[in-house]
Amino acid sequence: MAVARLAPRPGFLSRATSAAWDISSRRPAVPCLSIRVTRSPFSTSSPLSCASHKSTTAQPPSNANANSNTAAKTDSASSSTDRYASCMKLNQEWAAQTARDHPDLFPTLATGQKPQILWIGCSDSRCPETTLLGMQPGDVFVHRNIANVLHPGDLSSSAVIEYAVAHLGVNHVILCGHTACGGVAAALGNKQLGILDPWLLPLRQVRERNLALLESLSPQEAALKLVELNVREGLNVIKQKGAVLDAIEKRGLQVHGMIYDVGSGALRELNTEDSEEAIKARLSAFKTEA
């Protein structure tokens, strides 16, 4: 899948010399106006056009989906070595700075973790949970996957929830979706995606159940609506788990649905209050005893 291309990233080594490295220091992208590209099924700029395979001229350079089979060839193993080395350097700078700012932090971390929050979010690079929550290492236990989808039988997320709720005793579970989600855009399209298809299947189930509503909306509104519906669906999966129901009952565990706006950095909580009837039905069906 050929998409619009960015210039190779500036040398990481020069970046590493600046402790307060800023995203704005990126070198402007080189325009490659002659490249013909196919729209990515994950493109979020016009979500419902995902199914179309028509070629389109490359977009003006931006941070968007920087992929190319041509230009990227220059970005191979040798230049990667430099980036890799600077990664280590950035870590050393962070460790030194953190030790200066919070002298007790690392000695405390070495003794154990007692996070209050379990965050389940998208793998998307624009949604770094601890950063956007303004928190410190030790504060947030994390699971991130493609499109923050929760399959009831998925062992990976089930193990994370079980460990966080039953063993670590977190007080809050946050399931967070985000605007401009590539997985959601893909589920609103109809392109085959191999191994990603079974993963995105719950999103398509939600799409099927809400087809009329989604089709009545503009592409942007439909994408945002599906983000929200996906979070609500995931909340149901979380609240169907024995460990979670137990913790809600015994120690007031709270389960929250949120949407993060990658375009503003703001987090907003959805109203996810259940009716008494729904709670009763849920407890009848899912509450189990030892």
Binding site: R83, N91, W94, G112, L132, E162, L196, W199, Q254
Partner: protein, 221 residues
């Protein structure tokens, strides 16, 4: 209790607002650029442990690293969750590096060494016991318990790297573009530093391909 929980939640939104404001202050176009799309160079696969936040330990900003975190940074061959992440990151985002990052004092690895029935965590943690079995001789030869535990954490990272290299997405992309390169790291909670295990990516790839070669398959999943 309820009031206390509410307060801690308000704290979250306050912190988030502060962070967004400070980013915007430093670069008014910060979020505008992010809204346009993502083009991370890295895929990071690490532990869910709260003490190991990916962006912080790597000194990277929002938009720079695609992240998957699960219990004990495992890459089980049949786990659709992690396999979807790898596929998306390699095929669609074309990341240049994949990093598996373990950490010393990993509760998951410790639990896997404990002779206890942990219910639904058992099948997940069994993968770590399998890593022990694969390196039984070496591990049994380490007499100091904490050194043995630390070594298992390193070997577990290397096993995850190997499982990543078994995927068609990685093999084909590396053949076509010479990326991504797979790295294994361990984070030390005691000093905040990353240790590079310096895995021999090329060597591991060659090794793996003897049995798991999928690079010439016309089926691009």
């Amino acid at each position: 209790m309820k009031r206390y929980l509410q307060q801690s939640l308000e704290h979250i939104f306050k912190n988030n607002k502060q962070w967004a404001l400070s980013k915007k202050g430093a670069d008014p176009a910060f979020f505008e650029k992010l809204a346009a799309g993502q083009s991370p160079n890295y895929l990071y696969i690490g532990c869910s442990d709260s003490r190991v936040p990916a962006n912080e330990i790597m000194g990277l900003e929002a938009g720079e690293v695609f992240v998957h975190r699960n219990i004990a940074n495992l890459v089980p061959n049949v786990d659709l969750n992690v396999m979807s992440v790898i596929n998306y990151a390699v095929r669609h985002l074309q990341v240049k590096h994949i990093i598996v990052c373990g950490h010393y004092n990993c509760g998951g690895v410790k639990a896997a060494l404990t002779p206890a029935d942990l219910g639904l965590l058992n099948p997940w943690l069994r993968n770590i016991r399998d890593v022990y079995r694969l390196h039984e001789k070496e591990l049994d030869g380490i007499t100091d318990e904490s050194s043995r535990y630390n070594r298992l954490i390193e070997l577990n990272v290397m096993e995850s790297c190997r499982n990543i290299i078994k995927t068609a997405a990685v093999q084909q992309s590396y053949q076509d573009h010479q990326y991504p390169i797979v790295h294994g790291w361990v984070f030390d909670l005691g000093d905040g530093l990353l240790k590079d295990l310096n895995i021999d990516f090329e060597g591991m790839l060659e090794d793996v391909k003897k049995i798991y070669c999928l690079s010439s398959s016309p089926n691009r999943e």
